[in-house]
């Protein structure tokens, strides 16, 4: 999709060129110009809405596809060879025949490209022809057209559940409040609804939309790809300007929800829409092996060069030995012979053609196939499938599977990655009293319920009620109407439904408690006894229990009833809070921009008028909602926020009135306790604002809102102004439970030699707590803490101190732990003093400054675990980049939220956890998993497999090509270096194409050196990949040497057998071709560690195919490929016992050394293992 055709580029270039004069886009209505020609349209310069993502057109397919394909080095190499073959003085084969390989490759690729492109074309056509409603001036109504007819300046109406055809500035909705909901799942995968508002002043309540009266000019930014930013204003004929932002823009590709219809003017269309600009194609990363492989291909080129040089020199010298030319040397047209030096020069190129297979071009195609197979198996793994979400592991980057097996540093996010990010309301502290809740669900605390009931019954107001009201309304949660409920698998539908059912049960329970409450009043002591140890659901008295069961049944049957309320929360924290409020009977029933309705425990509805919402931002770290109480008409502001953000703004704390102060102190104590327990804390506060105060503030606020310059700063100022002198209501502690098996996973990754870092935005206390509970840090670890180091000099000092201390403690050098495999299992973790580092964001930025960075990296090298807290998304990626560049290690970043996107993209391998926080991380990732624990299997099993498979396959491929091509090379010494091939050219092509291609590909996809259970139980085996042991330079050279040896054997045994006899050229080549096949296939057979039916079929099949094809070919081909005449040669050879004797001997001799050394090494390692075992046993 990234590809844009030259025409579009040209057009883009032109528009860009044209744009700088006008940094903004001006759009007017098309309606007055409806009948004019295209040339006179005011918006003619903007792109239309038809999209075209296919690269080719019918007429341009062949030239353009060829042009594209020739951008690949491999193809250029092939074509170069083919062209070379057309030069008469240097050609080695029939020129036409030499074109075959390149034609096959080009044709296959062209078919693949064409098919893909055709599918893109089909999708485009489908999109372009989707119906939509455009306003027509002639018919004075919206008429049905196609998406491709939409132009900038048109008025478009979108109905509920329809997809938006272009970026539309919202001017009208059917909603009386002028809002419209939109689901952006198509864009970013987020399933929560986003609210969009009509541009102020255009929402005329209840009136039908009349585009023909629209006479304003829309001025907005030029198209960009920022989905969250959009600025502009509408200028009316009287020069009045109304500003608008992203919350008035309907984005192409999104779906309108909960709104009957919405209409507006198109501002961006087609390729200029934000969603299209965001469409960057699949990510292309080059894996570590591939980088290494490319240098080895260069080695092959060098090798080829020298072989050709030898051929050229040899030919020249050979020609020099003749005093007069013998009859077998063919002169040129004039009967002259080419001078030997010139002939040698020509021969150099002929040799390149002859020995071209030396460069394993087919390797690239094979690797692509192998990776496809590997990805197939990764995604097929049932162990990585999440039943709950019905989602399997996704491989988004197609070519870095083997990098999974080489990871050295793991950077993880905390929330949602290590933890569930399913927030559970665990504790709350109201007016200084602490209430604890059950672990799994919100089971209301009885004492708290009593307090609430008491207040409900008596005065209708009070801190307890306020607390729950704040919980219920101080958020941005939307209530989705039941009628518009969408049919889809939602991430947490099951949970919500569960929670809801529980909520209902609890309401029933509450009810029962209430009835009991009546009794309580009569006999308070019995209850106190009952509840002194806190309330546990299992302790419910029998009578109540029965009631619960019966009511539960009722609830189940009535679940689909109209009572159901579904919340669309932006963050799981909000969902947890609102469900907690609901559990206590404070149910938010409806939210519109102007009203919010809450149902109280006594079923009464309270409809608050919303006066303003001060949304959450990361600087203020709190949000507020200003409402007017329906009964008292008081203006109340409810605020929630981080403890520090609230506590320092409390009113009355320092006054003598000790009650408030007491509450604050107690609450603070509770908050500290929450943090120690790893809970996420929030404070709730309230403020009653007098009418005048609000009016004065509101005026300032409005001014700030309509400001264009420094809008953000001014808005912040106004918010800060009103958010002060709070009355503390209480605090909540929300638990974010660790995902299952997180400690085990982290320990396994550790044992596998990976260093695990956790980067989180949470505060240090919470983070450290989680770190201990997930075994990132352990209690016997030496932990250095760098928190709130204010001065750089101080930071420097501490870094130096720490490093000095480390060096001292390292002196008894157990540091060199380059043990591999089994040995490290016993030595590594025992000897190494494990060091942890905790550092916070501000200190981190100091440590990463230029002067301290070296020391910091030095320190990090020694640390087994690093915990960074309070870091920003940018810092996360900076840390990853720093480690990746300074230590030159393979890094992996795993995260689930939008704040992890930078980090995920910075790392070598980015992993997205599809969780509760939308899909942005997944969209940016290379692999997407659903649980953190899947990382263990993904890396230790699939990573290891993919790495060793690919490494072995690549090595094998180099070996195979060199071994085969060298046969031809050795023959040159016996044919006057004249580039004669003793093997039929077709058979040579078949050899690479059919006979020996399937086994290595199968090997690369299916080889199982070690079983998954072993890999999981011995994570140390992963270190093989980390140290790149599967594919070193030495491995490469050993393979090349072996290839040379084998080719020597495969050539010289037949040579000495047949030398001096009456054998013909191709009869001589046939046994060589055959022994090569046997050697190459059996060589692989030695490498294969586990044989499945597929292996047998492919291996035996390859040999059978060889014999069948060769026999058939030499039976049919009487004279098809001069100068070789394969006719009946194979048959004649196969009737000769010598053929078999030669084949057996050669194959055995060729494979003898490899088998022997493999065996000796095996014996050696067995001894080593048993020695280690006994050492362990005795020690």
């Amino acid at each position: 999709m990234t590809w844009t055709n030259p025409l579009t580029l040209l057009r883009h270039g032109w528009t860009r060129h044209w744009n700088p004069d006008r940094p903004v886009r001006t759009v007017v209505s098309n309606l007055p110009f409806e009948d004019l020609k295209k040339r006179e349209q005011p918006n003619r310069r903007y792109e239309g809405n038809a999209i075209r993502t296919n690269k080719y057109r019918l007429w341009s397919f062949i030239p353009m596809n060829l042009f594209e394909q020739f951008h690949r080095m491999a193809n250029i190499y092939f074509v170069g060879l083919a062209i070379l073959n057309f030069v008469p003085v240097v050609n080695a084969f029939q020129p036409e025949v030499a074109l075959i390989p390149i034609c096959i490759i080009l044709a296959l690729t062209a078919v693949k490209d064409g098919w893909e492109d055709f599918r893109r074309y089909q999708t485009d056509q489908q999109l372009n022809n989707t119906p939509c409603f455009i306003f027509s001036r002639k018919q004075m109504c919206f008429v049905e057209r196609r998406w491709k007819d939409v132009r900038v300046g048109d008025f478009v109406r979108v109905l509920s559940n329809e997809i938006i055809p272009a970026d539309i500035l919202l001017l009208h909705t059917s909603d009386p409040n002028g809002v419209c909901h939109m689901e952006t799942a198509n864009l970013d995968g987020e399933t929560s609804l986003k609210q969009r508002k009509v541009v102020p002043g255009f929402s005329s309540l209840g009136e039908p939309f009349q585009p023909q009266t629209f006479d304003s000019t829309v001025v907005c930014e030029n198209p960009n790809n920022n989905l969250n930013l959009f600025k502009g204003y509408v200028e009316r004929p009287d020069k009045r300007r109304t500003g608008f932002g992203i919350d008035s823009l309907l984005l192409r590709g999104c779906m309108v929800r909960n709104t009957d219809d919405a209409a507006g003017i198109v501002v961006y269309a087609g390729h200029e829409t934000k969603s299209m600009l965001n469409n960057s194609g699949p990510r292309y990363k080059r894996s570590k092996i591939e980088r290494k492989m490319n240098t080895d291909v260069l080695f092959c080129v060098v090798l080829l060069f020298f072989m050709c040089l030898i051929g050229a020199l040899g030919h020249a010298i050979w020609l020099e030995t003749f005093s007069s030319m013998p009859s077998y040397i063919v002169p040129d047209s004039n009967g002259n012979y080419t001078p030997s030096v010139l002939a040698g020069f020509y021969m150099f190129f002929t040799m390149i053609i002859l020995l071209q297979v030396m460069i394993p071009v087919s390797l690239y195609v094979s690797i692509e196939l192998v990776k496809m197979g590997q990805i197939f198996f990764i995604t097929q793994d049932v162990e990585l499938y999440d039943e709950e979400l019905d989602r399997r592991v996704q491989c988004r980057a197609l070519n870095i599977t083997e990098d999974l097996g080489q990871i050295q540093y793991v950077f993880s996010d905390k929330t949602g990655t290590l933890t569930e990010n399913k927030m559970v309301f665990r504790r709350c502290s109201v007016m200084g009293t602490e209430y604890c809740h059950e672990e799994n669900v919100v089971v209301p605390d009885r004492k708290l319920i009593l307090e609430v009931d008491r207040q409900m019954a008596s005065i209708q107001t009070g801190p307890y009620l306020d607390f729950f009201l704040a919980l219920a309304i101080c958020n941005t949660v939307l209530v989705s109407s039941v009628t518009a409920q969408r049919q889809r698998v939602r991430v947490n539908v099951a949970d919500l439904a569960g929670a809801e059912r529980v909520g209902d049960v609890l309401r029933a329970l509450t009810h029962s408690t209430k009835t009991r409450g009546g009794e309580t009043l009569a006999d308070p002591f019995s209850i106190d006894e009952d509840e002194s140890d806190g309330f546990h659901s299992s302790d419910v008295s029998d009578a109540a229990g029965q009631k619960v069961i019966s009511s539960e049944r009722k609830v189940k049957s009535g679940l689909s009833g109209s009572e159901e309320v579904c919340y669309e929360a932006h963050s799981p924290d909000e969902a947890a809070l609102i469900h907690a409020a609901k559990a206590y009977g404070f149910t938010m029933m409806e939210r519109t921009p102007h009203y919010v309705t809450v149902k109280l425990p006594d079923e009464a509805l309270l409809k608050f008028e919303v006066l303003d919402i001060l949304t959450f931002d990361s600087t203020r770290r709190r949000m507020s909602i200003i409402v007017r109480h329906p009964h008292t008409k008081e203006i109340i502001m409810y605020t929630k926020g981080a403890d520090s953000a609230i506590m320092e703004r409390l009113g009355n704390v320092f006054s003598v009135k000790s009650e408030a102060k007491q509450t604050a102190v107690k609450t603070q104590r509770d908050l500290d306790m929450y943090a120690r327990n790893g809970l996420r804390t929030l404070c709730f506060a309230k403020k009653v604002i007098s009418e005048q105060e609000f009016r004065a503030w509101s005026a300032v606020r409005q001014e700030a809102l309509s400001a264009i310059e420094e809008k953000e700063e001014r808005l912040m100022e106004t918010a800060n102004f009103i958010e002060s002198s709070f009355t503390l209501l209480g605090a909540t502690g929300i638990e974010d439970r660790l995902q299952e098996s997180v400690p085990e996973t982290i320990q396994a990754l550790r044992r596998a030699g990976m260093q695990v870092w956790v980067l989180t935005g949470d505060k240090p206390e919470t983070a450290i707590n989680i770190a201990y509970s997930c075994k990132l840090l352990e209690h016997e670890d030496l932990v250095f803490t760098f928190i709130s180091v204010i001065l750089q000099s101080l930071c420097k000092m501490r870094l130096e101190d720490t490093l000095g201390e480390l060096r001292r403690s390292m002196l008894p050098p157990g540091a060199d732990h380059q043990f591999r495999g089994y040995s490290s299992a016993f030595t590594g973790p025992l000897m190494e003093p494990s060091i942890g580092l905790v550092i916070d964001g501000p200190t981190l930025s100091m440590a990463m400054s230029d002067e301290l960075v070296e020391q910091f990296v030095e320190l990090c090298k020694h640390c087994r675990a690093v915990l960074c807290c309070r870091v920003t998304p940018l810092q996360k990626s900076a840390v990853v980049k720093l480690i990746r560049q300074k230590l030159r290690v393979m890094t992996l970043a795993v995260g689930d939220g939008a704040n992890d996107v930078n980090m995920i993209q910075a790392a070598d391998v980015g992993i997205g956890v599809s969780g509760q926080e939308g899909m942005q991380a997944v969209m940016a990732s290379d692999f997407a998993i659903t649980r953190f624990k899947h990382l263990q299997r993904l890396l230790l099993v699939h990573g290891h497999w993919c790495y060793s498979r690919l490494a072995n396959m690549v090595i094998y491929f180099f070996y195979k090509n060199v071994a085969y091509v060298n046969l031809l090379f050795w023959y040159q010494f016996f044919c006057g270096f004249s580039a004669t091939a003793m093997i039929d050219y077709w058979l040579m092509i078949f050899f690479n194409l059919f006979f020996t291609s399937a086994p290595p590909i199968m090997f690369g996809i299916m080889e199982k050196e070690v079983s998954d259970s072993t890999l999981l139980s011995l994570p140390e085996l992963y270190k093989r990949g980390q140290h790149s042991e599967g594919y070193r330079r030495s491995t490469f050279w050993i393979a090349i040497l072996d290839a040379f040896y084998q080719s020597l054997v495969c050539f010289f045994i037949p040579y000495w057998t047949y030398n001096g006899s009456d054998i013909g050229i191709f009869a001589f080549g046939t046994p060589m071709n055959t022994v090569s096949l046997f050697t190459i296939i059996l060589h692989l057979a030695i490498e294969i560690k586990s044989w499945t039916a597929v292996h047998w079929v492919i291996m035996i099949g390859s040999v059978l195919v060889y014999f069948i094809v060769t026999l058939a070919y030499s039976a049919i081909c009487i004279s098809c490929n001069p100068p070789s005449d394969p006719y009946w040669i194979m048959h004649k050879q196969m009737a000769d016992p010598m053929f078999y004797l030669v084949c057996i001997l050669t194959t055995v001799v060729a494979l003898l050394p490899r088998t022997f050394f493999t065996e000796i090494l095996l014996l050696w390692s067995e001894k080593e293992r048993s020695a280690n075992g006994s050492k362990l046993y005795t020690g």
Binding site: V330, L1145, L1163
Partner: protein, 342 residues
């Protein structure tokens, strides 16, 4: 986003997709490999002995008749000016040379595998297609037309360089020469004679007329249709000597079958006695340091004499045995040290 009704994402839980297919893991333990090497070694020794003994039974007689040395019978023929030179090579057999005896001529330092040489023939001509008689294909160049631009048939370097020494063999019995009949039938490949090569059909009953408008290759003394005037089945492109020559040798040192001795008194072989070979010496090799020789040989199931393969089997067989012993020692040593530790 998916609808609830749609199929689940759950992967198939089959042995194949889960990579849990039943697999055979060959464990190359010492218990298998050491006996394996031993068995292979012994089998090779057996084959080697068989091959070597068979090879020993094959009799070979080779005579160089290039005439490099002054005292060699064909020396006078190496002098350029001499035309139609004939020389006589004599040899004596002390024992019966068992038949059937194969009579080869051998060339060395002769690169029939030179690439441009190998390309230089027109297959279509050789299938008797007279259209290519008029205009031989470019591959034959420069042996496609003579200096007067007449097309050459058969064209090309291979045909042009055809070996043209001829031999007659006599047994000398009591001073008189008794001609040994030489059988020239079926010395080429059956497929060449019957399928690949075809003569042009005769024009007006005359085979020679089919070659009208063409000239013989420059080096040939007579045209293709005159190669064997006695036997029409051995004439033209189907001439056995021509077919043998056209099948190019793989290596610069080679021999080609000339005749077989299968007839008359000599069907059982060449009896002991003195023999004389009359060589019609035409083919020049000295200019490129080549050698010509005559070879008499009988054959067995393994073809001609070949000591190499037998010896190679013996060597490799013993090597395998040695390796198995080495591995056994290594293995035993480890075993012992293990026992010591334990």
């Amino acid at each position: 986003m998916k609808n609830e009704g749609e199929a689940s994402e759950q992967p198939d839980n089959t042995a194949f997709t889960q990579q849990q297919l039943p697999a055979w893991q060959p464990i190359l333990s010492a218990g298998i490999v050491i006996p394996g090497f031993l068995i292979i070694g012994l089998a090779f020794l057996g084959i080697g002995i068989g091959l070597f003994l068979t090879s020993q039974t094959i009799q070979v007689l080779e005579m160089d008749y290039t005439g490099v040395e002054k005292d060699s019978p064909c020396f006078q023929c190496t002098i350029q000016s001499v035309q139609n030179c004939t020389c006589e090579v004599t040899f004596s057999l002390s024992a019966l040379f068992t038949g059937p005896v194969f009579f080869y001529y051998g060339l060395s330092n002769y690169f029939q595998n030179f690439r441009k040489y190998g390309v230089s023939k027109d297959y279509y001509q050789l299938t008797g297609d007279t259209q290519y008689f008029k205009s031989p294909r470019d591959v034959c160049f420069p042996y496609s037309h003579d200096s007067k631009n007449n097309p050459i048939v058969p064209c090309g370097a291979i045909a042009n360089s055809m070996f043209n020494d001829t031999f007659e063999l006599y047994q000398i019995i009591n001073g008189t020469k008794k001609k040994v009949p030489l059988d020239g039938k079926g010395i080429s490949w059956w497929t060449d004679f019957n399928i690949k090569y075809r003569n042009p059909s005769s024009v007006n009953g005359s085979f020679a007329s089919a070659f009208d408008g063409t000239v013989k290759p420059i080096n040939w003394p007579k045209a293709a249709y005159e190669l064997d005037l006695t036997d029409p089945n051995n004439n033209g492109f189907l001439n056995q000597d021509f077919l043998v020559w056209m099948r190019r040798a793989a290596l610069p040192q080679f021999r080609k079958l000339y005749r077989r001795i299968t007839e008359g008194d000599y069907a059982g072989g060449l009896p002991a006695g003195n023999y004389s070979l009359t060589v019609h010496y035409n083919y020049p090799v000295l200019s490129f340091d080549g050698r010509k020789k005559l070879v008499f040989s009988n054959v067995s199931w393994m073809g001609g004499k070949n000591d190499f393969l037998g010896i190679a089997y013996l060597v490799v067989g013993s090597l395998c045995v040695v390796m198995s012993v080495v591995m056994l020692i290594v293995y035993a040593k480890f075993k012992f040290s293990d026992d010591d530790d334990a």
